[in-house]
């Protein structure tokens, strides 16, 4: 399969015109500080520069990218900087929703598998505990009574709640679905945002402003 059809998921590409009368050497010199970071290695061969990053700090302005190639080429209206950057973070964020959908399915499957055994356990143990608790009084400190705190629930009511809680405790896939949604949104935001941010960063560096 030709990866070019799908590699936009984790690759960010673009071109930027150089400043008037700026040479390739000058352009790379201006971009150089961006690559003088911990864990970054770079190599210049002619009009191209390749770089790779290993465990960049959060403060590295290009930390979202793991490597890439920058070339200075002759465009229609003059020299341009062409960049092609790879981001594992973007790929990870793209795949994360699928992972959470899988978690949701696992949660549902476990819930189905566990149901019979949970009911069996309830009949034996829970009933015994319920009987034990029937005559218990829950004390409330006079200070709390005076200050008007709600009276504590009687254990009898607790039993009811417990049954409800037992039902609620059944594994729910909701959280996994919510996070699948969150990571989908984050991917869309990141794909657009990081594209713009890197363009702005390169432009600022090239123009020296």
């Amino acid at each position: 399969m030709n990866l070019r059809f799908i590699d936009w998921i984790w690759r960010v590409r673009g071109t930027l015109p150089l400043a008037p009368a700026q040479t390739g050497d000058e352009a790379f010199a201006r971009l150089d500080p961006l690559f003088r970071q911990n864990g970054t290695t770079r190599k210049r061969t002619g009009s191209a520069m390749t770089f790779s990053k290993k465990d960049p700090a959060a403060q590295d302005k290009m930390s979202v990218f793991d490597g890439g190639v920058l070339t200075v080429e002759e465009g229609a209206t003059g020299p341009v900087l062409r960049y092609d950057l790879v981001s594992r973070a973007l790929l990870f964020c793209f795949l994360a929703p699928f992972m959470f959908l899988a978690f949701a399915q696992v949660t549902i499957a476990i819930g189905k598998w566990q149901k019979p055994s949970a009911e069996a356990a309830k009949t034996a143990e829970a009933r015994k505990k319920e009987e034990e608790k029937k005559d218990v009084e829950v004390p409330m400190n006079p200070i709390d009574k005076f200050l008007g705190a709600p009276e504590p629930e009687k254990p009898k009511k607790d039993e009811k709640d417990k049954d409800e809680e037992g039902d609620r405790k059944k594994p729910s896939p909701t959280a996994a679905y919510v996070f699948a949604g969150i990571f989908s949104a984050l991917y869309l935001i990141g794909r657009v945002l990081e594209d713009r941010l890197i363009k702005r960063l390169f432009r600022k560096s090239l123009l020296g402003s």
Binding site: N38, M140, P152, F183, L186
Partner: protein, 327 residues
């Protein structure tokens, strides 16, 4: 770097730190901003206490607690945007994605594992221990005293567990991953190896199924104090607050690149526990992390304790070099 003498220790020889409250910058801006960022923390604490004290039984539930937790974190994310402590700690897209990945593990996989391995066992044990009849004297105490005692006992345990993690290599391995973060943000508390997160979740998750009001109050108090450990917001915390409670300042020092500074401020909520045991250092740090600020990838964070543990075991049981025969 010369470092600064704090008690018997010299702090800041390996990484830049600021020691002493008088040297820590204050909130910049007009009187309204100053007021908000001075009184925000105590106001939220007291508001949460009042809520959990007076909320009707139908509202005082674990699901309400989770709702408030999420809403409060969203609000704090907003504050990070408005009034960051350090620009170098600004939340980036990549940091947010990474942090949320760990938060999501807590809500999905770890919760599931806790439910099946941790909580049920814990609940059984604790329910047995906390049998109404045995603990009538405790339940008869004023609610706030119960809540404080629960949160204090829990934090006291966390203090020693955390201190143990920094002093015993097998415990350090799962915890070390959390120390590779290079900035503090509101969700950074969730970043760490699942083994450590599971161990912490075991303690908290176990209580969540049969919560009397005192436990909800205790959780709210610990949460409303401990949440500021990992946050990129500059506060003028009142003097009494920072004397009693853990703050971003304390915890940033704990995460600094200076080894000696990391061996301080272990408590989760009550920094006075550190003061009692002589491990409290008042100050802050901007440059965080291990190995000069190498930010670990998620993949390495997942495997590091096991690979390093394997290396340790191999080194320990390696065949010693052939002995030199006696002459």
């Amino acid at each position: 770097m010369d470092g600064i003498r704090v008690g018997k220790r010299v702090i800041g020889t390996q990484g830049p730190v600021t020691i002493g409250w008088e040297n820590i910058p204050r909130v910049q801006g007009g009187p309204v901003k100053q007021f908000i960022f001075t009184w925000f923390q105590p106001t939220m604490l007291f508001a949460l206490i009042l809520f959990w004290y007076y909320a009707p039984n139908s509202i005082a539930t674990a699901s309400t607690a989770i709702g408030i937790h999420i809403g409060f974190h969203a609000l704090l994310l907003g504050l990070e945007w408005v009034n960051p402590r350090f620009d170098s700690w600004r939340l980036t897209w990549k940091e947010l994605v990474t942090d949320l990945f760990y938060v999501s593990l807590g809500y999905t996989v770890l919760r599931m594992v806790d439910n099946y391995i941790g909580s049920d066992v814990m609940v059984g044990a604790i329910q047995h221990l906390f049998h109404w009849e045995n603990f009538k004297w405790f339940i008869g105490l004023p609610l706030l005293v119960q809540a404080f005692l629960i949160s204090f006992i829990f934090d006291f345990g966390q203090y020693w567990m955390h201190r143990g993690m920094h002093n015993w290599y097998p415990l350090w391995l799962p915890h070390s991953v959390h120390h590779y973060i290079t900035q503090l943000n509101i969700n950074k508390g969730a970043v760490g190896n699942p083994v450590e997160l599971f161990l912490i979740g075991l303690g908290i998750g176990g209580f969540f199924d049969f919560l009397p009001r005192a436990f909800l109050l205790a959780g709210a108090i610990s949460g409303a104090i401990g949440v500021y450990q990992h946050i990129n917001v500059r506060f003028n915390s009142p003097r009494w607050w920072r004397f009693l409670f853990n703050t971003t300042e304390h915890h940033s020092l704990h995460h600094s690149q200076d080894y000696e500074a990391t061996r301080s401020n272990y408590a989760g909520a009550y920094i006075f526990i550190d003061r009692i045991f002589g491990t409290c250092v008042d100050g802050e740090a901007e440059h965080l992390g291990l190995e000069g600020g190498r930010r670990m990838s998620i993949r390495e964070q997942m495997t590091y304790p096991f690979t390093e543990g394997w290396k340790m075991i191999k080194a320990k049981f390696a065949r010693p070099a052939a002995a030199v025969p006696a002459e």
